[in-house]
Symmetry: C2
Subunit: 180 residues, 2 copies
Amino acid sequence: MREMKLSRAFTLIEPGPVVLVTTRDKGRSNIMTISWIMVQDFTPVFALVTGSWNYSFAALRKTKECVIAIPTVDMLDQVVGIGTCSGGDTDKFAKFGVTAVAGKAVGAPLIAECLANIECKVIDLIQRHDIVMLEGVVAHIDVGRKEKRMLHAVGDGTFVADGRKYDRKKMMATKLPTGL
Amino acid sequence: MREMKLSRAFTLIEPGPVVLVTTRDKGRSNIMTISWIMVQDFTPVFALVTGSWNYSFAALRKTKECVIAIPTVDMLDQVVGIGTCSGGDTDKFAKFGVTAVAGKAVGAPLIAECLANIECKVIDLIQRHDIVMLEGVVAHIDVGRKEKRMLHAVGDGTFVADGRKYDRKKMMATKLPTGL
């Protein structure tokens, strides 16, 4: 995994993938599966929906740090497994065979098996809508990884993997930041 | 296009597709392409990022109504075209050959060519983050449509279509609302 340009980090979230969000508090790391996340701008600022129904929320609110890890289709059963048990009684890294790796800027760990990881700081909480605003501070990507297809949750227990790609960079040139 | 259960409308947005958002004000309908949208819950409440940089924003703020239309992969060039010109000087329905159809609950039109349409009311504005909170009130789906693959924007001018599907309903049963 190597560092990627932070200005490109939003391109990991804009397609709408399911993500894994790690936190670390009192020497324990945890992971939650989240599909309710969106890009905020052409900057590494993201809006995430979470709240006290997620065990990780207390650590996120207290430490104001997390890592957004991007899993791929080969990790589907880990993603679902992580999302259907609680860090309150489970060491999810051990149970689901994923590897915590120290980040550079936050205490929450990267997940080594993921396609990419974005170290984030909490910059705001919009409590009336359970929205947490995050700013990415360091981004990492595994450029050598063969499987790069992200997963999208439909919300009814089914998932869709990335399919065919289309390039419309020329048509969109006027609307995109330079240097992407 | 026929009405679908409103309780399933979030399954159209949770996968993270690019959407078309229609508004109507002073007898003129308009469309914007939006990729910055997320589900808020297992309810038809959505968070959308928009602001004064979108011509439609004034109509959305004034009328407090819009329609979220879900295009599919065969509509890619219309989606990009709609997103790269302004309703200030363009009748996008005429220019991009899409058909406005009256909804049931809001003044903004449905788009006949889309896979699905969700009529929405604005329920909150979070101005410091340019987030508009929407609640779907009626949802429609074209069940006979053959092309159902949604589009995901990467954000750099490339797009990804829906690919292979996976069913994990059994694994997720404890986490999903009943009746989905």
